[in-house]
Symmetry: C2
Subunit: 281 residues, 2 copies
Amino acid sequence: MALTEVSSNKMFGGYQKVFSHESKEVKCTMKFGIFLPPQAENGKCPILYWLSGLTCTEQNFVTKAGAQRVAAELGFVVVAPDTSPRGCNIEGEEDGWDFGTGAGFYVNATQEKWKTNYRMYSYVTEELPALINANFPVLGDKQGIFGHSMGGHGALICALKNPGKYLSVSAFAPICNPVNCPWGKKAFSGYLGDNQEDWKEYDACCLVKKYNGPPLKILVDQGKADNFLPAGQLLPDNFVTACAEAKMELVMRMQEGYDHSYYFMATFMEDHVRHHAKFLK
Amino acid sequence: MALTEVSSNKMFGGYQKVFSHESKEVKCTMKFGIFLPPQAENGKCPILYWLSGLTCTEQNFVTKAGAQRVAAELGFVVVAPDTSPRGCNIEGEEDGWDFGTGAGFYVNATQEKWKTNYRMYSYVTEELPALINANFPVLGDKQGIFGHSMGGHGALICALKNPGKYLSVSAFAPICNPVNCPWGKKAFSGYLGDNQEDWKEYDACCLVKKYNGPPLKILVDQGKADNFLPAGQLLPDNFVTACAEAKMELVMRMQEGYDHSYYFMATFMEDHVRHHAKFLK
């Protein structure tokens, strides 16, 4: 699998790069951002995967989150993929901002129109890590995962569905219970069809109850002034309840006055990277 | 002068806001970003003015520079204006990315087409500070100024033309000697006309030789891999020479491998804010 370097910028002594490649899973050209810390010049580094939210590309995290400073200090490679296939010419893929392009929801679609390309779950858990491990100085057995909103949902399900694969997980304002929120119902019915039992395979509240792997300690930050909280899109209380029932260790921090934006994420990004460092260093 | 709040996002315990207002100097609606640190809730804070480069709006600094974290720690209000008037319907204002819209160059134009609106020098040194001092909890006598590229040029000339007004000044990859570079020649001939003696009133290398005010200590960071360096747009060597002749204290740091982007600026932003703190705290 050949990688094409799209851009490279020195930053905090390391390099923030963007690559493109032809993806076998999603059958189109995909881009990802990768921060290579200065430590990567002399040895292999742990990896953090970041999954972005609705409407994002690989650029939003790279440009706005401010994670590179702490990643450079601690010696993390940080990989930020795009949020969906692009330009697949599927009828309806551009019709909404919360379904189709920019809204892959990190699931493998089963429905006819979408199942060929919309395989973001396999892309982020299998194809992309194999590509990263083969091409960069990383410790493939030291992986953490985190994300925001739709990508927070993605981070939680990737960790919960793959016991032991990710040693650490955290999320900013994640969609915690997609089977019960408007965004999730729209996406899952479109990608996965009408059988709601199938949806549960990609729902953090459902998955945490089935989790049977090494202990995880999940960190979640949620802004109290997030518009999508009263809109019932995020449902963090349901995840608190589900984790309590499952005896999963969860720190859910409700942050007074913060909204759903990258300003919120930049504020607490250092805390999250240091949280991952407890398990990956 | 009424201010309209365009956006407000909590960040690092303070607020990143954007306001719009009707400007008397440039005779159109202008926007600026302002970061209010947590300390601004209980008292008045020193102010840092940030001047952005070609093609930027107030958004670039606010989104990408990562200054708010250190400003929140040290208690600085940070103000980032737009780089030019907008939508004035001047013939030719949209013809190039390096002249007209997004390229005000922080001068007061004297040429017929431009002189009504293109008064960015008076806007950033007089009108905007008066507006900030009247509407926000700031210490109006504790001002610093910094910027990037065209805005680095702006920061240098604002400090050098107004002895004592700005207690501190720094720049990232500034246009140091606009009378001798292609960007400067195009902008100054357009805004100021053919008499090159008039241009010298807005050239850092010329102004530093005339400076006769309180001591300044100027910090400049310049990436060695900046494309605009070999293109002869920035001419930092000329500023080093001019400062040496004028006995102006200058720290010019040539940063190996860094380019002209916000990735470069984010890397050294903390150093610059702490540089200003030496003089403003």
